[in-house]
Amino acid sequence: MKLDNIYQEEKKSNFAKVSEIIITMASRPSGFIGLSILIFHVILAFISPYIAPYDFKAINPTLMLQAPSAEYWFGTDDLGRDVFTRTILGGRTALTITFFGSLIALLWGGLLGIFCGLVGGKTDDIVMRIVDAFLSIPWILAMLLIVSLLGTSTEVLIPALGFFYGKGIVRVARAATHDVIAKDFIVSARARGHSNFSIIWNEIIPNVRDAILVEGAMRWSWMLLGFSSLSFLGFGVSPPTPDWGLMISNARGLMSFAYWSVIAPIVGLSSLIIGINLTADAFAKALGIDRSTKAPV
């Protein structure tokens, strides 16, 4: 009877596991809010090109800096473009680039970290020194260098962000690997003569996956922050692409008499970042990982 139960536990499908985690996340108020915001933004990103009332790049000098009205819900900006249209479209680029960027960061950071944790020794020392060096360059300086080096096209930004934000994951994955490496099942796998690859794939990854995923979720919000800071500083996506960071920096100079054109993108970007953060926090709690003691590296 008891053995049977254990067997049942094992056989739970991936789908059941995922939905269980999501239910746990949504059962806390903060997790529920975070998930709702995130889902809202993702859906918006998919449907916004179809529901946008105006053309995002249609310049109309006769409609400059109109206050919000029934026709232009969030008013118009300094070039007479509809702020509502630009706001609902403004998250698409950022969301896409940072989502795929985080996936890349997760992959290379996680695998390198696990590898370093497993092999140890000289390789580990050298890699960690390089990772430390990258960590000690302020993110903004490094991002600016990358962008002025490689440009701001999507094909460049995704791997660049993925590379740059993966370095912190290396540390987390390595530490998580160190936690499991001394356990008996690794020792017995070694004794059975498994290769490093097999040990990583079958023994370590299932055990460190949670920690790395949580870290990746957190990275996503930092990457979004970094990406929009770049746009804000004028080093990110180029106009007329609707982007929140860019919109805020354009509208900032005029906000003493046209505050609406700066408020809308602020709400958009802040809500998305808060949504991702709350979701990541809830995700960590659902998996039983305490994140609040970690520093924002």
Binding site: D132, L135, S136, P138, L145, S221, S228, M255, S270, D290
Partner: protein, 318 residues
């Protein structure tokens, strides 16, 4: 102990060496160099060669790296390209300005963070905790440029209490400067405080749940005496490292804040020098900011070591 300290310092130096290599290679492969930027359309033939010779760009890259590194160790970072000034002189006032901003934020931020963190931990899941924690999540996650922009919009434009951007030169007297830097300091302190408060909170909660605190409660030690004597000293120790990392992380955030408030610190210099392709300055900035990061971490490591005898033996065993 001495061995440990020396080892940490050596590791820090190695990290800085790698940083210098990375930035050198990074700036080296940047399209266009100082001369093409400086001469703009006249960048060909004689003039270009003359410029290369003048700036010493005609020797191989590794030779330039060595001579740059030797000079940099002595504090000489060469000449800035935009102002034709020694970088040392450009950096001096900028570092001072940023230091004013950062230290003001730290001095305001740390005590507030401690109080908020302790309050939220002791009243865990009660109203004060829920209220403060919600605010800290907002303060922590919203990008610097958004909170700074909102501060300007609300306090400088709508309420007209304080100037929105720094318009006075920074060498005026402190009282004249003060109203100008209040908003940037708040913007920086907010994020830092929120981060630290959250860490202090979880650290205090962890200690409160430990066995010796339970024991103290069972023994009937008065609540506040227990908090101050048994909980806080142990809870705040691990926070030192994290506080250091937060401060170091802030170096990036300060850049954005300085740009928003038009404050002439290191951060704005970063942006200016990258847009002007002023590579020598970029290199100098990278190595200086990285040194600040490494030394803050080193300091925190050493402080934790000194204050915690347990960690000391643990490290030696490793």
């Amino acid at each position: 102990m001495l061995f440990l300290i020396i080892k940490r310092i050596l590791l820090g130096l190695i990290t800085l060496f790698i940083v210098s290599l990375i930035t050198f290679v990074g700036t080296e492969i940047l399209p266009g160099d100082a001369c093409t930027t400086y001469l703009e359309r006249q960048a060909f033939g004689e003039q270009l060669e003359a410029c290369y010779r003048r700036l010493g760009l005609n020797v191989p890259a590794y030779e330039r790296y060595v001579s740059w590194a030797v000079n940099a160790i002595q504090g000489d970072f060469g000449y800035s390209l935009s102002g034709e000034m020694p970088i040392k002189e450009v950096l001096g006032p900028r570092i001072k300005n940023s230091l004013v901003l950062a230290s003001a934020a730290i001095f305001i931020g740390i005590p507030i963070a401690l109080i908020l963190g302790i309050v939220t931990a002791l009243w865990r899941d009660k109203l004060p905790d829920v209220a403060i924690s919600t605010v800290t999540i907002f303060a922590m996650t919203i990008p610097e440029f958004i909170s700074a922009t909102l501060l300007i919009l609300i306090i400088a434009i709508w309420l007209e209490w304080l100037p929105g951007i720094v318009i006075v030169p920074t060498d005026v007297s402190f009282l004249e400067l003060l109203p100008n830097i209040i908003l940037p300091v708040i913007a920086i302190a907010m994020i830092m405080t929120a981060h630290m408060a959250r860490m202090v909170r979880s650290s205090v909660i962890q200690v409160m749940a430990s066995e010796y605190v339970q024991m103290a409660i069972l023994k009937g030690v008065p609540y506040w005496k227990m908090v101050f004597k048994h909980v806080l000293p142990n809870a705040l120790l691990p926070a030192i490292n994290v506080v250091a990392l937060t401060i170091a992380w802030l170096l990036g955030g300060v850049v954005v804040t300085e740009v928003v408030f038009n404050y002439p610190g290191l951060g704005r210099l970063v942006i200016e020098s990258i847009s002007n392709r002023d590579l020598p300055t970029v290199q100098a900035l990278a190595i200086i900011l990285a040194s600040i990061y490494v030394s803050i971490n080193l300091l925190a490591d050493l402080m934790t070591l000194m204050l915690n005898p347990r960690l000391k033996t643990l490290q030696i065993r490793k």
